[in-house]
């Protein structure tokens, strides 16, 4: 690599070459170019091995362990474990080692398995055979042995083994068809072109003769961008240089279609191929819940450290009396005595840390991960989010954000394909003001709407007739639609006109398909592109042939496309079609006013409009254009800019022909969904590239704006009249006045009806607002703009570039409330916004799979967003909130008695519970009920959640994980643990409670506390459960039963592998005493009492709307279930 850089440097200065940042030279077939051209410097390129795996067999253990212990939590537990190993600690290292080992092993197995799968996939890819031309023969090799510069033979339906430059194809015209379905999901066939000078090579021998080099840029991940040049050496002449663009580059992963074979040369191999470069993982998004969890963890870490510090201090205060430190009955070893007091104090501190470390449980991380992973399956399983047409349900790309779906405050949605079907239907066209409606959709409404305007039957005169036909031909020619012909069994290809079932149009833009199909209905059928000639079947069933000379492709900046064709009579035409805003300024004649009026009328109706214009070219003009284009295309540097300039020069001085209108119907239930999202307290923003009128019409149709909504406009039209500054301040004042009166109203209770605002802003104004602060005032704009937006219930941003969409999301994300944002879109232009938002949702749309692949969740239709947020999001949020709070609660209950016990055992770090209990508490006794709860809890039924979106407001702003509630849970835990400990204390207080007078020891004391603990904690969860399926019953009662059975077993046998038998028969002896039973029952009830009381009182006195709904539903069903309730009561009594 260094050599090539050096060479570039030299060549740049010596020969005055264009400024390449970095480039590579590929020698086709590894043959040196003829001497005298350039020195042959072999460059080193990576081989064609794809490595997506992370580990190898050898480095798996160390690398995986390193990766895992980089997580703070794992590291913490490792430290605790090591401390236990090194110093003499109260609990055996097993207690923390076992769970840690379990977690690490499970994770390692999971990652190992995933990596094994990746290895397998890599091997399959790397070993699949490729055909390489060597010395004029086809050689089969493994894919991984492919090198840069090899000439490859790829046959139909094969996948390209690396990024290739197309040399020649089996087709005479040097084209081939490729589907990139596995790369970006677009299943349409794309055409790629061979280099002009090589396209005639048809055999291996011929290809082997080729002497050429390819100079191209170093690999970069953009799939649609490629700049290169091929130098072909023929004889001794100067090499012929030809430009290479992305139309010559066959991407690894794409599949060859409808072409027998191609010859191509590899330029980017292995990990340098564009596909591999696109593997890069997305940045990790973290949910708000996770952030709260980490904050809580810090609090608990502080509690832990302070507990250990308090106990260490007290220990040394207490021990200052030597008779307490070392009474005669409890001597120390000499070794202990000799140790320095500071070291002793430090080890004591560590020992206390170890004793109390369970307050931060390993299992919480595992449970949270499992909850997220398993819980996300409910989304994919959801039948209601399955789309029959697509045959697909929702997809979960990351399960880390499940609960974030319940916290969304801002929804940013794309319009086309998201709110609307992106299923275009040709509605009408207008030629010089005459409106034509295809018969097929001539229903009564459209007829009446356009009455008084000439219909297709009433011909507008001979002159008009000519224009009309020109218009139709223009639409038939000016597109990039392909015809997909399906072969019948006997191999006879059928044309378009023979039936719709066997052939159809394919294009990356649905508008074009709609237009071409609309033309077909109006009598002009586009047949195919053959040998660079477009064939059209006109009304008289004659085939007209036009030679396609140039295609000036569509791009979103120009917002138009053009073709240059030569008719069979030899006339040259340039046809241009594009958005009205980009056509009208370039038109010099035609009935502009009438067309414009129609276009605006259609735009208000919510139709997508396109204008068509043409220009007749003279031979000379055409020649100039060709030169212009060629020079631009040949440029290696800044080719895009140069092309744009060339296009700009060519597409001017047009004659307006007319306009088309295509309807993009709203998606099913889009309005209902938006209404629900509004009711749920979310602000919905529509970000679209469409023009304002169309977008606004869609917004009205989708109920984003209601009739009562006052629309605030912040558009170029207004800012032209007034300065941006004035407009902003005026709008700000309007909105803020409303805001103030609103706050007054809430006091008087009249807040129910207030004016809601909708804002419309366009891209140009937005960039003016967003422009980084040059002076003081523009910094203010942003704030004012945000303030206005915050008070608008709906915002429409039109004429947005993809990057602007992301900018808006970022702006809202960074505003001072830090709201949770969600972006939903279907196209590649939404990817940036999807990646930027907290939650990105992709619609599996017609414009490829890019959005779905880059999103966190993908859904088939916009309407599924409703269930996704209102039901799944709501559920996941309450589930995980309870999970987190409960985990901290149960560990406070668990550890605080140990802390209290230190005051009664001379601060000696004596554990209250047996090792087995310490280890298994979080792993098995109390783990499953909460995991199950966090998977299937439903506090309100699904149907109610869907019917009443306002319930979503009840969980807004992370309200179940606020500090207040966290503190409540912590104090509940403290109270409960006091009850456990002091209850047992008074029960044991200097007396016996067996009927045979025998005495219990400290392990019975601990077991009693532990039993109360397990029962209380499990029953507390049971009280919180609102949805008792048989699984809940099984798991809750099952885990209690498991505890009892385990205790019986653990104490029932002298375990030979243990060096102590402290638990032998302790549990059974405890249960043999009546007061123990009475005590357990009493303590459990006392512990649960305050929580029940709090719940009942809050529900009765300050009910949330969720609770109201629950109660109401109960009231409605209470009659028929009274008997059942009574039976439940009696059964709970017996329990």
């Amino acid at each position: 690599m260094d050599f090539s850089a050096l060479r570039n440097l030299i060549s740049r200065y010596c020969t005055g070459e264009e400024n390449w940042v970095d480039s590579r030279t590929v020698y086709i077939g590894h043959r040196e170019p003829p001497p005298g051209t350039e020195a042959y410097i072999p460059q080193r390129f990576p081989d064609n091995r794809i490595v997506s795996s992370k580990y190898t067999f050898w480095n798996f253990v160390p690398k995986n362990l390193f990766e895992q212990f980089r997580r703070v939590a794992n590291f913490y537990f490792l430290i605790i474990f090591l401390v236990q190993l090194i110093i003499d600690t109260p609990t055996s290292p097993v207690t923390s080692g076992l769970p840690l080992f379990f977690v690490i092993t499970v994770t390692a197995i999971k990652q190992g398995y995933e990596d094994w799968l990746r290895h397998k996939a890599d091997n399959a890819v790397n070993q699949c055979p490729v055909h390489i031309i060597q010395h004029g023969k086809v050689v089969r090799k493994q894919s991984r042995k492919l090198r840069v510069g090899d000439v490859v033979l790829v046959k139909e339906d094969e996948t390209f083994p690396s990024d290739l430059i197309l040399l020649s194809t089996s087709r005479d015209d040097g084209t081939c068809f490729v589907t990139t379905a596995s790369l970006d999901g677009e299943s349409s066939h794309k055409t790629y072109y061979a280099v002009q000078d090589t396209k005639s090579f048809n055999t291996e021998k011929e290809v082997d003769m080729l002497r050429a080099t390819i100079e191209c840029e170093q690999p970069q991940p953009d799939l649609y961008k490629f700049v290169g040049r091929i130098n072909i050496y023929q004889d001794r002449d100067e090499p012929i240089a030809r430009p290479l663009g992305s139309e010559n580059l066959l991407l690894r992963g794409a599949t060859l279609k409808n072409t027998e074979f191609v010859y191509a040369v590899a330029i980017y191999t292995g990990m340098e191929s564009k596909m591999a470069l696109n593997y890069q993982s997305k940045s990790q998004k973290r949910s708000a819940v996770e952030k709260s969890m980490n904050a809580f963890l810090v609090v608990y870490l502080c509690i832990l450290i302070s507990k250990a510090l308090i106990n260490t201090t007290l220990k040394y205060v207490w021990q200052s009396n030597p008779n307490r430190d070392e009474p005669w009955y409890n001597g120390k070893t000499d070794h202990e005595r000799q140790r320095h007091v500071m070291i002793r104090a430090f080890t004591d501190f560590l020992a206390f840390m170890v004793l109390f470390n369970y307050i931060i449980p390993v299992s919480m991380y595992v449970t949270v991960e499992m909850q997220k992973f398993l819980g996300s399956y409910f989304i994919t399983w959801d039948d209601e989010m399955f789309d029959e047409e697509l045959g697909e349900g929702a997809l979960v790309n990351t399960s880390d954000l499940n609960e974030e779906l319940g916290q969304v405050e801002y929804v940013f949605t794309d319009k086309t394909g998201t709110l609307t079907e992106n299923n275009m239907e040709f509605i009408e066209c207008c030629v010089d003001g005459h409106v034509y409606v295809p018969h097929a959709i001539c229903n009564g409404q459209i007829l009446s709407g356009s009455s008084g305007i000439d219909m297709i039957d009433s011909s507008p005169g001979p002159d008009g007739k000519e224009r009309e036909e020109l218009f139709f031909r223009a639409l038939c020619l000016c597109h990039t639609v392909q015809v997909k012909e399906e072969e019948t069994v006997d191999g006879i290809k059928r044309g378009i006109h023979q039936g719709k079932a066997t052939s159809f149009y394919i294009s990356s833009s649905p508008d074009e398909v709609a237009l071409v199909e609309g033309m077909k209905r109006l009598g002009f059928t586009y047949l195919r592109l053959k040998d660079n000639h477009m064939e059209i079947l006109n009304r008289e069933d004659e085939v007209e042939r036009f030679e396609l000379l140039e295609v000036l492709n569509f791009d979103s900046v120009r917002r138009r496309m053009s073709v240059i064709v030569r008719s069979s009579s030899g006339h040259l035409y340039l046809f241009c079609k594009g958005a009205d805003s980009s056509i009208f300024p370039r038109v010099i004649s035609g009935k502009v006013d009438r067309v414009r009026a129609r276009v605006e009328h259609n735009a208000v109706e919510g139709l997508r409009t396109l204008c068509v214009a043409y220009k007749a070219l003279s031979q000379e003009e055409y020649h100039n254009m060709c030169q212009l284009l060629d020079s631009a295309k040949l440029a290696l540097q800044d080719r895009d800019r140069k092309l744009a300039e060339a296009y700009d020069l060519i597409e001017r001085d047009l004659v307006l022909l007319g306009a088309t209108a295509v309807e993009d119907r709203l998606q099913e239930k889009a309005a209902d969904t938006i209404e629900s999202l509004h009711k749920a307290g979310m602000k919905v923003w529509v970000l679209t590239g469409d023009k304002m009128e169309t977008a606004a019409a869609t917004c009205y149709a989708s109920k984003l704006f209601r009739r009562s909504t006052q629309i605030l406009e912040l558009t170029t039209k207004r800012t032209e009249e007034q300065s941006l500054h004035d407009v902003l301040f005026e709008l700000g004042r309007t909105v803020l006045r409303q805001h103030d009166s609103l706050t007054h109203d809430t006091f008087s209770g009249l807040s129910s009806e207030f004016q809601d605002y909708g804002l419309i802003i366009d891209g140009a104004t937005l960039s003016a607002v967003m422009k980084p602060a040059q002076d003081d005032s523009s910094g203010n704009y942003r704030e004012i703009f945000l303030e206005i937006c915050r008070n608008c219930s709906a915002v429409l941003c039109c004429r947005m570039a993809p990057l602007q969409k992301a900018q808006i999301v970022k702006l809202i994300k960074a505003s001072k409330e830090h709201p949770i944002t969600l972006a939903v879109g279907d196209g590649a232009n939404d990817v940036s916004m999807i990646l930027e938002a907290h939650v990105g949702i992709g619609i599996m749309g017609k414009e490829g799979r890019q959005a779905a692949r880059n999103s966190d969740y993908a859904i088939p239709k916009f309407k599924h967003l409703k269930k996704m947020l209102l039901v799944h999001g709501h559920y996941y949020y309450i589930r995980i909130a309870e999970l987190v709070q409960y985990f901290f609660y149960k560990n406070v209950c668990f550890i605080f008695p140990q802390f209290l016990y230190q005051f009664f055992c001379g601060f000696s770090q004596q554990p209250l519970y047996d090792t087995a209990y310490l280890t298994l508490y979080n792993i098995s006794f109390t783990s499953l009920p909460i995991l199950l709860y966090s998977l299937i809890e439903q506090h309100i039924s699904m149907d109610i959640l869907k019917r009443d979106p306002s319930l979503y407001r009840d969980i807004a702003k992370n309200c179940l994980l606020r500090w207040r509630i966290f503190i409540y849970w912590t104090f509940l835990g403290l109270f409960d643990s006091m009850v456990f400990f002091f209850g047992a204390y008074f029960l044991f207080d200097n007396t016996t409670f067996t009927s045979n007078g025998q005495i219990f020891g400290n392990w019975t004391f601990g077991t009693l506390v532990f039993t109360v603990l397990v029962f209380t904690v499990t029953l507390k969860l049971a009280l919180d459960t609102h949805y008792w399926t048989w699984i809940n019953h099984f798991v809750v009662w099952g885990s209690l039963l498991f505890y009892v059975v385990f205790s019986l077993l653990w104490g029932g046998v002298i375990w030979p592998f243990l060096n102590y038998q402290r638990m032998y028969y302790v549990f059974v002896q405890m249960l043999s005493s009546g007061p123990a039973w009475l005590g357990i029952g009493l303590l459990v009830i006392i512990s649960l009492l305050p929580d029940v009381l709090k719940k009942v009182l809050c529900r009765a006195l300050w009910p949330t709307s969720t609770e109201r709904i629950q109660t109401k539903r109960k009231c409605l069903t209470v009659e028929q279930s009274t008997i059942f309730m009574l039976s439940q009561t009696s059964s709970s009594l017996s329990f």
Partner: protein
């Protein structure tokens, strides 16, 4: 306890999203299973805690707990218990001298006798406890200082006790049996009880020294090592006594079933107490016949062979005589707690009833009207 409504949700997964005819065979295979579990529509009992529904529970708890509490309280009060401190802290107390001049090596035991009188006769079996205060049997260093395998009769452990027993593991190069701090500090006061007949004679009351340890401890957990002969001293050959003991472990009792590691006094002591103030069962005074109470009213003398020093760590020694009911010894806590909780629940029930009537109906009405 909770109000409930049993709603079995019907499978209405198809109601939305009008299934088009386009879904082919391919689509069907990818369609999620329409099972109740996967659609989160399992039939479920959906209880809700409201004032109305917990009311009965509160009243029931109240009505149930108050009588239980009263029962427990009465039972506890009926238990007769007599406790006497014989530490000898005061100059006036009979054991003062013994507590002062104490040394482990003294061969001549120090004896003192404490007199007391029982106001009421103890009818059923009487359990005699010794109690210690400010004695940290639950100190970590102490608790773990034992070798359960040794005590279970493991011969290897007998000769090579666990490291946990340090510094009471070896003495003079010989392994200690039983090793560790707990065994070393075995309570070795001897208590004897005399009934002072009104006619002046002192009768020694028979104290039973078996049945004071857990049956499982005595028969399973603690076992003497099995040697060649039946002679315990031969089995314990090659071990030495704990430092503070005056005799070897095989000399603890003459009864072979209560000697060595299965000596019940040792077993009782080895079960470390939970709290620094504790009592341990010492002897049982069995009821002789139906006619006479086990301990009639009158004067008694407790003869103490004072061996166990507690003054150094400000400890106290007590002797407790207690009868036992089904719920154990005298402990009013449980009774009082039950009565309190019962009353609180009853009171809360009343409060909730008021709330339920005032607010419950109002909020419901508001809901329905809205």
């Amino acid at each position: 306890m909770m109000a409930s409504s049993y709603s079995t949700k019907e499978e209405d997964g198809h109601q939305s999203g009008a299934p088009g005819p386009g879904g082919g065979v391919n689509a069907k295979s990818r369609k999620p299973d329409n099972t109740a579990f996967k659609q989160q529509r399992l039939p479920a009992w959906q209880p809700i805690l409201t004032a109305g529904t917990v009311l009965p529970a509160f009243f029931i708890i109240g009505l149930l707990f108050i009588p239980i509490g009263i029962g427990l309280y009465v039972t506890s009060n009926n238990i007769k218990e007599y406790e006497i401190d014989y530490t000898g802290v005061d100059m006036s107390s009979p054991c003062f001298n013994c507590s002062q001049n104490y040394s482990w090596n003294s061969t001549k035991p120090c004896r003192c006798s404490v007199s007391f009188s029982l106001d009421q006769p103890f009818e059923s079996n009487v359990f005699m406890y010794y109690g210690l205060s400010n004695y940290y049997q639950n100190h970590r260093r102490y608790v773990k200082s034992r070798d359960d395998s040794q005590l279970n009769g493991n011969l290897n452990a007998l000769k090579d006790p666990s490291k946990e027993c340090e510094p009471y593991r070896m003495n003079d190069g010989l392994p200690i049996a039983p090793c560790g701090a707990i065994a070393n500090s075995l309570f070795n006061d001897t208590l004897e009880l005399y009934y002072n007949d009104p006619n002046g004679t002192k009768t020694l009351i028979k104290l039973v020294k078996t049945g004071i340890a857990w049956w499982t401890d005595k028969h399973v957990k603690f076992r003497n090592p099995v040697g060649d002969g039946s002679n315990l001293s031969a089995v314990f050959q090659g071990t030495t006594k704990p430092v503070n003991w005056q005799k070897y472990v095989y000399q603890l009792d003459s009864d072979p079933d209560n000697n060595g590691f299965i000596n019940e006094d040792l077993i009782v002591w080895m079960r470390t107490a939970a709290l620094p103030t504790f009592r341990k069962l010492y002897r049982i005074i069995e009821k002789q016949g139906d006619a006479t109470p086990t301990l009639p009213r009158g004067n008694y003398t407790l003869l103490v062979t004072y061996n166990y020093p507690v003054r150094s760590f400000e400890g106290r020694k007590r002797m407790i005589l207690s009868t036992i009911s089904w719920m154990g010894g005298k402990n009013p806590f449980l009774g009082i707690a039950y009565i309190t909780v019962g009353s609180v629940c009853f009171f809360l029930g009343v409060v909730l009833l008021i709330i339920h009537h005032k607010y419950g109906s109002r909020s419901n009405n508001a809901d329905i009207s809205s």
